[in-house]
């Protein structure tokens, strides 16, 4: 019995890991794009000659739209987002864009997770970028460096160093959040444990915890190693 349960839980782990890694691969870069959007200073009316109200001069449309989207994704439960993203198209337009079966459910879950986590990551990036003193940028400028060179050669590593601790928190939360995908019937770890519980076995449910602990344990070691690597400067 133990091996049957272990094998089933490993299958659940594979699904959870798939969701986890796909989310990371897409949400990490997307989050950076989102953070640039929320920091956008583009203000189309700033230099207008006409007599317009002051608030319109400081109106930054890109930043406003992006910040609103981030607010919605961070301000509502991921579980709700999963339900709406998976069932929404079918119920609203009678068109299940996700395709049928396991693949379709995983696809929808991955999309929901990427959107949600990109928003969380974007705020971490923003904090990281804004915490690098402006003097670093100016020191680069007076040395004739381009914006691009300053970003990649000066700012980026300082930013990474600052975001590793909050990022590792968020990524560990992601490991556990994968269990939410069972709301749209993705068979991840907890779902497997639940199935055994329905057959009257409680211990597999406790056993699921071990899989998360191992997963998170490995990540903790990895992040500890990265922090150490970046310890050489302050």
């Amino acid at each position: 019995m133990f091996w049957t349960v272990t094998l089933s839980l490993l299958e659940g782990t594979a699904a959870a890991a798939e969701l986890f890694f796909l989310t990371l691969i897409f949400a990490l870069p997307l989050g950076l794009v989102v953070s640039f959007g929320s920091m956008s200073k583009w203000a189309p009316f700033a230099r207008m000659k006409a007599n317009i109200p002051a608030w319109l001069r400081t109106f930054r449309p890109v930043s406003l739209v992006v910040r609103t989207v981030v607010w919605v994704f961070r301000g509502t439960p991921l579980m709700l987002q999963l339900l709406i993203i998976y069932y929404g198209p079918g119920l609203l337009w009678n068109n299940n864009v996700w395709g049928s079966g396991t693949g379709g459910r995983m696809f929808a879950a991955v999309v929901a997770f990427i959107l949600n986590y990109a928003c969380y990551f974007s705020e971490i990036y923003r904090g990281g970028i804004e915490s690098v003193p402006r003097g670093q940028y100016e020191a680069g400028l007076v040395l004739g460096m381009t914006r691009r060179q300053i970003f990649f050669r000066v700012t980026l590593l300082q930013m990474i160093k600052r975001i590793v601790p909050p990022m590792s928190n968020e990524i560990i939360t992601l490991v556990k959040d994968t269990s939410l995908a069972r709301i749209i019937a993705v068979t991840e770890i907890i779902k497997v444990g639940e199935n055994f519980m329905r057959k009257g076995m409680i211990w597999p449910l406790f056993y699921t915890g071990v899989f998360y602990l191992v997963f998170v344990g490995v990540l903790t070691l990895l992040f500890g190693w990265i922090e150490k690597k970046l310890d050489y400067f302050k």
Partner: protein, 260 residues
């Protein structure tokens, strides 16, 4: 001919006029001290010269060429501004060293990037490294080349910053209160370095509150108040025998040991 000539420079932040009708010129190999109480516009002036701020009026000429003219947007294109910045070196009050690079890497980074852009050879890159080491040696930091900024004292960090500012061989080196962020016992080593640069005829503009130092090291001095130049002349004369009432009051406060 003057290396630097500034004509009718003007800078506003919104409705506040921070620089008004600033004009002076500087001969090659000379050092100019800029004096004035806090808020008089000294930092803004240096920032305008380094294209960190865009003046609202006036012209800046280097070696007789107009590199900035507020009335001519063609002189303000981002691409060219980048090259024009290289006429000036800048040493900030707070050093602004790059923390993830060693002292040597701080000094060689910009030169290395420029060299790579024009596809420099291995030998050229090695030469940049040697020049960086030589610069650190003249700053008395030969044994600190491989140290990271956080492993250096404030005085050492500022000397690395001076070496970094010199690495691209600017025509004019600007200092913005280079010792103001330092503990008193560390100002001496930085002032000594600047003094030795003056002895080697480096063209410099030094914003400082160290009056004795300015008097001894600078050739000329400008006293600023409220964004205007109220007195300019030979450094010794401006500091020891000021003609303007405001300059006198300002210097009297320093002589009495006060600060702004």
């Amino acid at each position: 001919m003057a290396v630097l000539e500034v004509q009718h420079l003007e800078k506003r932040f919104g409705a506040t006029r921070v620089l008004e009708d600033i004009g002076f010129s500087l001969e090659k190999g000379r050092a100019l001290a800029i004096l004035g109480s806090s808020g008089s516009g000294k930092t803004t002036l240096l920032r305008c010269l380094n294209f960190l701020e865009t003046p609202n009026g006036g012209r800046i000429l280097v070696n007789g060429n107009c590199i900035f003219d507020a009335a001519d947007p063609a002189t303000q294109r981002e691409n060219e501004v980048r090259k024009k910045r290289l006429h000036f070196g800048m040493v900030f009050q707070a050093f602004h060293l790059f923390p993830q690079y060693t002292a040597l890497e701080n000094v060689t980074l910009a030169a290395t990037l420029l060299a790579q852009e024009r596809g420099a050879s291995r030998d050229e890159l090695a030469a940049i490294r040697d020049e960086g080491l030589e610069l650190l040696r003249t700053m008395g930091l030969a044994d600190r080349a491989q140290h990271y900024p956080h492993q250096l004292s404030g005085g050492q960090q500022q000397r690395v910053a001076i070496a970094r500012a010199l690495s691209l061989k600017p025509d004019i080196l600007c200092f913005d209160e280079p010792t103001s962020a330092l503990d008193p016992e560390l100002t001496g080593e930085v002032l000594r370095v600047i003094r030795s640069l003056a002895e080697r005829e480096t063209t410099m503009i030094i914003v400082t509150h160290e009056m004795a130092f300015a008097r001894d090291v600078a050739d000329e001095a400008i006293f600023m108040d409220g964004g205007r130049i109220v007195e300019q002349g030979a450094a010794r004369q401006v500091i020891e025998d000021p003609q303007n009432e405001r300059t006198r009051r300002f210097l009297a406060r320093y002589a009495a040991g006060g600060s702004d």
